[in-house]
């Protein structure tokens, strides 16, 4: 990745020039929303502002943010997939995408051809290029075809001239066997996957009596989405598959935005010509300074799709301070976890990602799925559910986890071991009412 590090010169534009472009695009989107999008016309009216009042990004922050709950309410009230935020720029929609359904309600977004020709597809092309995909490379795509991100990837891979390998099946860890067969037959150079799927692939190799590095002997890079990688997980992937590098990408299909890591792995570069990202205090809505954790608020700066103006994704994120050695001038943010994956134990705020980091410090538990049980009547302990590790004493592992919980999180542990975990990958914290045979049987 030396001679052609950047796909487009805009990636290294001076910050002032980027800010200028961002403000110009923001004004255009605001004007469009004011004129054409009922969802925002109402919000402008409620806030008592018009696009004419907004000259800078600071002015823009007077527009109230909204959350998935607001979207859900609008979909329920309208009873249909269009809720007045579809900024299709006069084009007809070509695709309607549904999200995977946090809050148990998948939302909808409309996409026009513009999005796939000139819109966010350009960001995804830059991300994939940044992460080492080159023309002619064989890329194994282990992502669901219906997902917004996959649609963009499909076009981006085409335009980059990569050769694509699409396995049959659904992209849940239970289907790892099929994907191993695909990898063996097709010798991919690169894998795009959900993070939990990579763990499942490694486990499935061992179950089949094969070493992952033999099955994936052609593979040099992996890029994962869906959840952030812990250092333990990165190390495991690199060593088990003998990779050159492992990358992470992130974003949200509620909000139609995405970003990816460069080779320095400091966080995700958010392309400022397409997205305006703020990090705010979840309660007060005040901007938090770089380096501090807050909720990610996104504004999409291009049309041809459903438009999001100050949409609070309810994900924990941090703006990474300083400039990136890769030379890209676009902001870098680190994504941590869903706000919903947070609970208070002994008066401390604990995220499921903290638990993930803690577990990944124990080699046998790297990447292994877990669940945290939320007990409304008992917040004195961390109620953790894990699958047994073949060949390891439960008592020994329990002691190690217990010790780390006390030292790193300052909370006591209540651990339950299971033969297997549910197949779902999305939820990490579940209410007591859902923990039981029902949840386990679903997989």
């Amino acid at each position: 990745m030396s001679e052609s590090r950047y796909l487009h010169t805009i990636e290294t534009w001076p910050p002032q020039k980027l800010t200028h472009l961002q403000q110009r695009r923001l004004r255009a989107v605001l004007e469009y929303a004011w004129k054409h999008l009922p969802f925002y016309q109402e919000r402008f009216r409620q806030a008592g502002i018009t696009p004419g009042d907004i000259r800078t990004v600071d002015d823009f922050r007077r527009l109230p943010r909204f959350t998935k709950s607001d979207l859900v309410a609008a979909f329920r009230a309208g009873g249909q997939y269009q809720i007045g935020l579809e900024g299709l720029k006069g084009q007809r929609a070509s695709n309607i995408v549904m999200t995977s359904g946090t809050l148990n309600f998948p939302t909808f977004a409309s996409l026009a051809p513009y999005e796939f020709d000139f819109g966010s597809v350009r960001c995804v092309m830059r991300e994939l290029w940044m992460q080492g995909i080159r023309p002619g490379m064989k890329v194994l795509v282990l992502l669901p075809g219906w997902h917004y991100l996959s649609l963009l990837e499909s076009r981006a891979l085409t335009r980059l001239g990569a050769r694509c390998i699409m396995p049959f099946g659904t992209h849940l860890p239970g289907h790892a066997d099929r994907f191993i067969a695909t990898a063996a037959a097709t010798s991919p150079d690169y894998i795009l996957a959900f993070a939990p799927m990579m763990n499942a692939l490694i486990d499935a190799c061992y179950i089949a009596g094969r070493r992952p590095k033999d099955v994936f002997s052609s593979t040099r890079y992996v890029s994962v989405v869906g959840e952030s990688l812990t250092p333990g997980m990165r190390t495991r992937l690199k060593s088990e598959l003998e990779l050159v590098d492992v990358f992470e990408r992130g974003g949200s299909s509620d909000g139609l935005w995405g970003a990816g890591e460069c080779e320095y792995h400091r966080g995700h570069h958010v392309y400022a010509d397409y997205f305006l990202i703020e990090i705010v205090d979840p309660e007060s809505g005040a901007q938090v300074p770089p380096g501090e954790m807050g909720s990610v608020v996104v504004t999409t700066l291009s049309l041809g799709k459903s438009v999001y103006l100050r949409f609070d994704c309810e994900d924990w994120g941090t703006i990474v301070p300083g400039s990136c050695p890769c030379g890209r001038t676009h902001p870098v943010i680190e994504l941590h976890d869903r706000l919903a994956n947070t609970l208070t134990i002994c008066g401390r705020r604990i995220t499921s990602q903290q638990v993930r980091y803690l577990l990944d410090e124990i080699p046998e538990l790297v990447g292994r799925p877990f669940l945290i049980e939320r007990m409304s009547f008992d917040s004195s302990r961390l109620f953790l559910h894990l699958a047994r590790v073949p060949g390891r004493e439960e008592r020994d592992l329990t002691d190690q986890i217990e010790c780390k919980c006390r030292q790193q999180l300052g909370v006591p542990l209540a651990l339950t071991w299971h033969d297997r975990m549910p197949d779902g990958w999305k939820e990490r914290i579940v209410d007591t009412s859902r923990v039981g045979e029902g949840l386990w049987a679903r997989g």
Binding site: I96, P144, G145, L151, M166, A181, T186
Partner: protein, 310 residues
């Protein structure tokens, strides 16, 4: 592509077909027409392509490196490779099927199938890499799809509730879970689609089953025949038959044991040759679909040759 041209091309470029045609090598290399010897070409069986060795996904069947590889929906690992031109032609076949059920511009078409099913990936240019125009793009329809797992039928329900599609494509496996949910909830969440199309790779639900589904769904149900290894797709006509698309496929009915070609009206298995797929050609692929070439004119009024599937 003309069958002669396809056979010569395969002989020149595909190691697998060079081996397969060895008994016919004299005819292939000469300029003589091959139509006469076509039926003596050894058939292509699923097991010939299954469990490919490391790094040889097509077992030598390919004529050039594909731009995209799809793993097919069989119990064993089997792969099909495409160039962008193959995909475009394949999507043209799907588009014709959509026209047959009168999908119109601005119609919303929902698909309850896996993303790796041709029903899904041929529908829209943004689902499959390298596809320039999917069936929906050609017609101006809007596509929406989600997980194809039967246990995720609730997500399909949610999609139907809010998107209210005019046409619903559903994999055969998903019909029963969907019907159970429909019964439990006392009917459709919104006006039912004007057409439901059911499909499965080398699956053909019987006429009685279709009638039962139509009664339970309260909307017309059509079957889409598929043999993915041969890139074959065909929608049944209103007479319940499949009409020959002889510009794109050669279809024979053969004895399932001896693979000899059967006369009209005798039942056997469909053996399909795809005339447009040049990257990993399928010549005389023996499918698992039973049927017979019909000697009578179809009740739908089309005069082209037709097949009745069992």
């Amino acid at each position: 592509m003309d069958p002669d041209e396809l056979l010569h091309y395969c002989y020149r470029c595909s190691p697998f077909y060079q081996r397969k045609f060895s008994s016919l090598a004299g005819a292939i290399t000469s300029s003589a027409t091959l139509k006469g010897s076509f039926q003596s070409i050894p058939p292509l069986l699923l097991q010939d392509m299954a469990h490919p060795p490391v790094g040889d996904a097509f077992r030598g069947r390919q004529t050039r490196p594909p731009e995209i590889i799809y793993q097919l929906e069989y119990d064993v690992p089997v792969f099909q490779g495409f160039s962008r031109y193959d995909l475009e032609a394949y999507a043209g076949v799907m588009s014709d099927a959509w026209c047959q059920i009168c999908v119109r511009a601005d119609d919303r078409v929902a698909i309850y199938d896996y993303g790796s099913s041709p029903v899904t990936y041929l529908s829209s240019r943004v689902i499959s890499p390298y596809l320039r125009q999917g069936a929906a793009d050609r017609i101006g329809a809007v596509v929406t799809c989600n997980d194809g797992l039967p246990e995720l039928v609730d997500r399909c329900w949610h999609l139907l509730t809010y998107v209210q599609p005019q046409v619903l494509f559903m994999r055969c496996d998903n019909v029963d879970p969907f019907l159970r949910l429909l019964t439990r909830r006392g009917g459709w969440p919104a006006p039912p689609p004007r057409q439901v199309v059911v499909s499965g790779n080398e699956e053909w639900p019987g006429a009685q089953e279709i009638s039962a589904w139509e009664r339970a769904l309260g909307t017309p149900v059509r079957r889409l025949a598929r043999a993915d290894l041969a890139m074959w797709l065909a929608l049944e006509c209103s007479g319940g038959r499949i009409h020959m698309d002889s510009d794109r496929f050669l279809i024979e009915v053969v004895d399932p044991q001896s693979y000899t070609v059967l006369p009209t009206d005798e039942e056997g298995v469909l053996t399909i040759t795809c005339l447009f797929g040049k990257t990993a050609p399928s010549i005389r692929y023996v499918s698992a679909i039973f049927g017979r070439l019909c000697s009578t004119v179809c009740s739908c009024g089309q005069l082209s040759a037709s097949i009745s599937l069992e």
